[in-house]
Structures are given as C-alpha cells and as structure tokens.
Symmetry: C2
Subunit: 339 residues, 2 copies
C-alpha cells in the first residue's frame, strides 16, 4: 500500500505517537519567553565541559537520555536514533551516539533537522522497522558562531537582519501507543534557492523553502491553514516569517493568527537578538516543551511543525554561492485524526 | 508487524529492488582495478567547473540523473533522494538536490553513507513511503584533502597508514519490481570508538565498528560469513581490513576468501595510495558498478555490503578527541531470498 498523498506528503496510517520528550537550553534561552516550559535550563552554557562543542554534545546526551526516561522505556529498546546538528561532520550527534550506544543514523538538514528526524523516526515506527525511535537535534550559540561567523572573542557587531543561534536541544521518542500526540502526515521538502547570498539574513533565504513545503502540504492533503490550531515554522525569525506570510498570500493562502515562528517567539524584546532565534535547537526546544505541553493540555489539537534549514557552508558562501534552503513539515494531532 | 530480527537488523519483506544504478569516477580511479566497470571516467577531475566542490556536486548530479535514466523512470517519480557527502554541511549533496528538485533528505554517515542511504531508501520503498528512492553519495579527493588535511599545493608527504580519498560517486535507484537485485536485510550500526586518534589511520579506527556491525548481523540473522558469496567492507583499506579479519577471528567468525574491502581493491599497486582508497565514493562507486554488474551476471548471488565511516571532524581531532566510527550493513541478493 502506498502511504503517500500527492507529490511530497507521507501518511502514517499506524499513528506513531510521541511517547516521551525533553528540552534543555542555555541561560539566555531560559530568560526568554519559554523559560517556564523548558525541562532544564543551564546556568552555564559550558555545562562543566572544556569546550562548547563538548557542552553541545553533553546537552544532546541529556536531552535524549531524559526523553527516553520520560517515555518510560529502556535505552536498549530504542531501535534507532535519528540525530544531526550544525557542527561540521555533525560531531555533537555522533559523539552523543557513541555514549548512548544505540543504532544510529546521522542526519544533516541544518535547522530543519528536528522535522527531518521526526519524519525518519515516524517512517521507521510506522513501517515496523523500529519499536521506539529517538529523534533529536540541537545547537549551541558559541560553537555555531565560531564555526560559521567570527571568533567569539572579537565581539563582532551583528547586522540588524541577523538571528541568534539558540543554545538548546530537543528530543522526541516515537513509539506505538493507543493514545497521545500522533504524527499523522509529513511533507518532505525540496531544496529551494531564490539567490539570497547574505548569510546574515537566513530568514529571507529560508522563507521560499517554507512556502514551497507549505504549499505542497496543502495541495497534497487538501487541507487549508485553518485546519491547524498552530502552524509553526522553525526559525525564520521576524523578517523571514513576514516574508513567508507575503509569499503565501501570493499563493492564495492566508496565514492568520494561527501562524507563528519559533525564531520570532523564543527571545523577548529586551534580549537584543534582532530578528530572533535560529539554529536546530530553536524549533527543537520549543516543539519538545511548549508545543507538546499545550497539546497534552488540550489547548492545541492540530499542529503543523515546519522546520526550515539553510544548507550552505562557510566555504560555499566564500565561493560566492547563494543559500539553498529546505523545509520539512510534520502534522501532529491529539486524539488522532483518522488518516 | 515488526520488521526486525535481533537487536540491530531490519527485514525488508516487500523486497525493494535495485532498478537502476550509475557510477562516475576521476581519472586516477579510472586507471585503477575497476576501470572497465565504472560507467563514466572523467579525464579531468575539475569536470569543467571552477572549484573541486562544484565538480563534486556536478558529479553527484550526473550519478543521480543517469541512475534515474538507467531505472527508466521519470525524475518526478523519485519520491525521495537520500544523499550525503564528506563536505562540511554536505554542500555537494544539497547543491545537487537543488538542481534535481526532488524531495530530499540530507544524511551524514561519512564513508558509511552509501549503506546508510540504501537502508533509508529501502525502508521508504518497503514501507510504502516511496515508489522510487534515489540513494547516493560520493567524494572527491581534492575537496576532501583540502578540507580535512592540508592545502593541495603544499604537496604534504603522506604517512604509510594513510588512504587516498576516492574521486567517485555512486547512485542506486530502489523501487518495487518483480525481479532483480533485492535488499533483504540491513543491520544498523552503533558508534564504536576504540580510542584511535590518528586521522591518518582511518582503517584502524573503523575496523572495530565493522566488527561490531558484522557480529550483530550474524547474531541477529543466524547467518554465518559462508552464507555470502561476497562480504565487502566500504573502505577499511589494507591495514584496516587485516585488523577486521583478526577482530572477527577473536569473535569466532572466519572471514575467508569471500571477504574483501573496496579501499583495498580500488587502486592498483603502482598508484602509490599506501593503504588504498577511502571516502564515501569508494564503496559507492564499486557497489554501483562492479558489484551490481557481477550480481546481474549471476557471478555473485548473496552480497553483504558493509560501509564504514569515521565520524570525526578536523576540530574534534584538534581538540584531542579520538575517532568515533560506524558501519552499516546491507544484505543484497539475486533471485530473492525468502525473508
């Protein structure tokens, strides 16, 4: 049986469920708008380690371990871990997988990785290839900033279109269960590039990819934006999400008050983050805390989570290339829509 | 129904089949032992581009496009492309996906990526999430060398345990078909690290991961090495494959004349590559040419392809970390073993 509708959308007929989750963030994120939702807030973003990269990996290990605990399963029942991050060769994820000793698939989708890992996990659970799958990602401001932009010690001035890489991790455990939040649909993104070359304006680079995937999702499923209580993009930031609203309007879809963006939401206005948050950890930490929490309370019933990723490297930018972007969408519901 | 046996092994009951494949390599690889098997040999490894990174991406586009042609399907019937490479942020794959405009999942498994992409593709086809899946990876000597080691212009002397990154790409198209080479089992690797820190001795770092996955495969399936006409590791090279033979003997398994390694096989002895080939493209180019060709001719019936990856980055090595490694195994057969 083909478990697809339309060109890019998967249907999960066996309803993989969110059976556990965990989020962990840095001090700045703890002081932002979602402090009361995150499961763990670090006082020091080095987390007792000697490097930011080690801290990032340690945070990911904690997110995965605590999500497994939350799911009340044993670590050796996790049949596959799907994880990725922003570091070159995704070292944070691979070093975490070394400690965790579970079957591991490394992913790279930049800031779209939370959705990518959820899709992979949902396919494996739905298709009977895994009883339990761990889907995880995250980012760390300090390791990302020094890799992608400037040494932290320089204190380089940030342009007004820039976003602040979130120090945060999130992990979702998917499994078969009779109740809880289910993964109903996923729309796989295509790479979209509208020739934005400014690596300090990721929101503008990624907005067309979000538009492409949202349009595909609505075309494939016959749904409209009104079918969701919340449509949440990963980390377009303030500018990028405004661009997305405009782009969707050109396509004939109105994103109303049920639309928001994790990058726009995560920090408060006093935190000097310009366009807001970014990084794999932005969507991952909010999905695995605030979103699931509100869904469990019955405040949100149908959520479309659309994580967006900018797929450039420092080298591709130095060589003059524009920024290819991608967005993957995951439709979640409580109570379980009949698909 | 659970499509797993044992701890780490998946069973593909619907038999996803290899319906198309393509390999493309650089001039040095063309002069090696498999010149007559590769589909396309470049005369110039810049492939008409201005950078090695662009050449790498262009080679990957050709591998995927020609594999799709070989499968006699249309590009818009490819429901998912699973691809990754060695470049930071896998730019070669993401830029290729931009050109190809197909739903795309970025992977990072270092040199294990050919097996990782095949497993992902097989899960999607077997589970009805894709009609046709493209599984692709590759590497380029010049882009990898300048990223991971030294500027090419320095002509830095290579240590005797080093391997030569293969300039080569491979793509497999999986789909539902009544005949041809089928993907029967896959064993997902765990990250293994025996504390090797020498980035010029990858074979030694990866051999324990290959051992771990091979042992899991035999334990999970009840098979023995004798059940395969060919057990082929990805790119352990001469030293690494000797270490693997020893490690397997300690585990009670004898790898005999049916065992070989793509890294050991790809170059001839006059080509000064010390321990042989490495890189995602090593296993990918040989699997998608020589191995499938011999299987189609009936010379090989059951093949276990075990691609191995070293999951370090330059930064993790500079920070004094050892090299975590992984191996994924894919069991292929002709005629179709009943699983």
């Amino acid at each position: 049986m083909l478990n697809r509708v339309g060109k890019q959308t998967l249907i999960f007929r066996n309803k993989p469920r969110v059976i556990g989750s965990f989020s962990i963030v840095g001090p700045k994120e703890g002081k932002g708008n979602f402090g009361k939702y995150f499961h763990k807030i670090l006082q020091d973003d080095l987390f007792g380690e000697k490097s930011y990269e080690s801290a990032e990996s340690k945070m990911l290990i904690m997110a995965i371990t605590e999500a497994i605990n939350d799911a009340q399963v044993n670590r050796d029942e996790i049949d596959a871990l799907f994880a990725g991050d922003l570091m070159n060769q995704i070292i944070s994820s691979s070093f975490a997988a070394r400690t965790l000793e579970v079957p591991y698939f490394g992913l790279f989708g930049a800031c779209s990785t939370m959705a990518e890992s959820l899709i992979m996990g949902a396919c494996h659970v739905d298709g009977g290839f895994a009883r339990y799958a761990a889907c995880a990602t995250g980012s760390h401001f300090s390791s990302a900033e020094k890799q992608f932009r400037y040494p932290l010690e320089l204190g380089t001035q940030r342009p007004p279109t820039s976003q602040w890489t979130v120090t945060g991790m999130g992990c979702t455990i998917l499994g078969n269960s009779q109740k809880g939040i289910s993964v109903d649909y996923a729309t796989i993104g295509k790479v979209v590039d509208w020739n934005v070359t400014d690596a300090n304006n990721m929101g503008a680079a990624m907005a067309p990819a979000a538009m492409s995937t949202l349009k595909a999702h609505f075309d494939d499923t016959g749904k409209t934006p009104d079918d969701y209580d919340l449509i949440l993009t990963g980390d377009l930031g303030k500018l990028g999400s405004e661009i997305l609203i405009d782009l969707m309007e050109y396509q004939g879809y109105k994103l109303g008050s049920n639309y928001n963006d994790c990058g726009q939401m995560i920090y408060n206005n006093t935190q000097k983050t310009f366009m807001g948050g970014s990084g794999c950890g932005c969507g991952a930490s909010i999905l695995n805390s605030y979103v699931y929490s509100r869904m469990k309370k019955g405040e949100l019933k149908n959520v479309l989570f659309v994580a967006t990723g900018a797929l450039m490297s420092t080298l591709s930018s130095q060589q003059g290339n524009s920024i290819p972007s991608i967005a993957h969408a995951v439709a979640l519901s409580v109570g379980g829509e009949n698909v």
